[in-house]
Symmetry: C2
Subunit: 228 residues, 2 copies
Amino acid sequence: MPHTNKKAVVLLSGGLDSTTLLAMAHRDGFATYCLSFDYGQRHNAELAAAKRVAQAMGAAEHRIATIDLRAFGGSALTDASIEVPTDGVQSGEIPVTYVPARNTIMLSYALAWAEVLGAHDIFIGVNAVDYSGYPDCRPEYISAYEMMANLATRAGVEGEELKIRTPLIHLSKADIVKAGIALGVDYGLTVSCYQADLEGRACGVCDACRLRRAGFEAAGVADPTRYR
Amino acid sequence: MPHTNKKAVVLLSGGLDSTTLLAMAHRDGFATYCLSFDYGQRHNAELAAAKRVAQAMGAAEHRIATIDLRAFGGSALTDASIEVPTDGVQSGEIPVTYVPARNTIMLSYALAWAEVLGAHDIFIGVNAVDYSGYPDCRPEYISAYEMMANLATRAGVEGEELKIRTPLIHLSKADIVKAGIALGVDYGLTVSCYQADLEGRACGVCDACRLRRAGFEAAGVADPTRYR
């Protein structure tokens, strides 16, 4: 566990990317306040993974906020009537697994917690390489969010700048895996699959599984994922 | 009920300001999708008022989203250990009734719903005159939010601009009341008090009550508020 008074809120899904992100926040000397969301996702094994990861990696605190994105529908990840695609990632399109305004909502909860904690750093594991089809994973979106956040809060008013930190944004999946391995991450704790079963075993065919598997391959690292 | 296909999401608390806002959205020809929040506010009579208002004014739909801001604490409106001030509005300070990131979180839910509805307009009743101490009621905050929102969503990617509409932002409370009366608003339906009782009767001494009462007086309109 890092010894520091510098607090950061870390958005932690329990997947490969956000777990690497948490390791990076610790490397950078932050005491981490991990925030996960129960947003009616099909792959609830994620939350169990987030708990394991936060505990194993020595987070200062871990909270799970319940948000009801199902009420609005519109994504294969929260709407049971839309099928999770298993036929590979299409480039240049917004995927049906895109959840409307998800990152905006999650960052906004992180912003509220950061303000109460007196934290000036929020870590989010967005990636513009693999998720180029998601509008809210782009660097220009993150910059705009940061600018807004600095106007939204006491911190901004009092002149202490709030930073949205996205150390994964330009990394390939293989580079994320390599960085995590170098920081001692145990990827066996993590779950990335969009439709993992209750024990956290992955389907192996959804977009998230394909990207993850290819990442381990390209990094030359044995894939610790449990497939069903 | 307005006859139109132009949809707008309207953030509706059930208070004086947001009820006037809803009347303005109808005046502007929008079919309105009203969104209220159960955020653990002490004054839950607000939500009953929001339901009455949405129904009486012919909203196309009204949804209440539950968000757990109590988990983070930090405001007299959600944290029972902080007292609601009753000794008048202090200028130049951020009041203890400020809820961290509240407008940011609420706008983000509105953004998600707007995206699913295909709506390009979000109405929020922020006011920079009476709530000058709240960072997230300032015009520069709203502009920054709008810029971010246009980068966050499919609409932005597809070139259809999303607008955050704040017709109350520069109006005095008296001008808001006058505008609402001209549009036929029945303010007897609304509840503004920070600590209304279960029947929606107002305390008369909190900041919200003081501002509201002064507004009716300055507008020369009989105050229909039920005080306890």
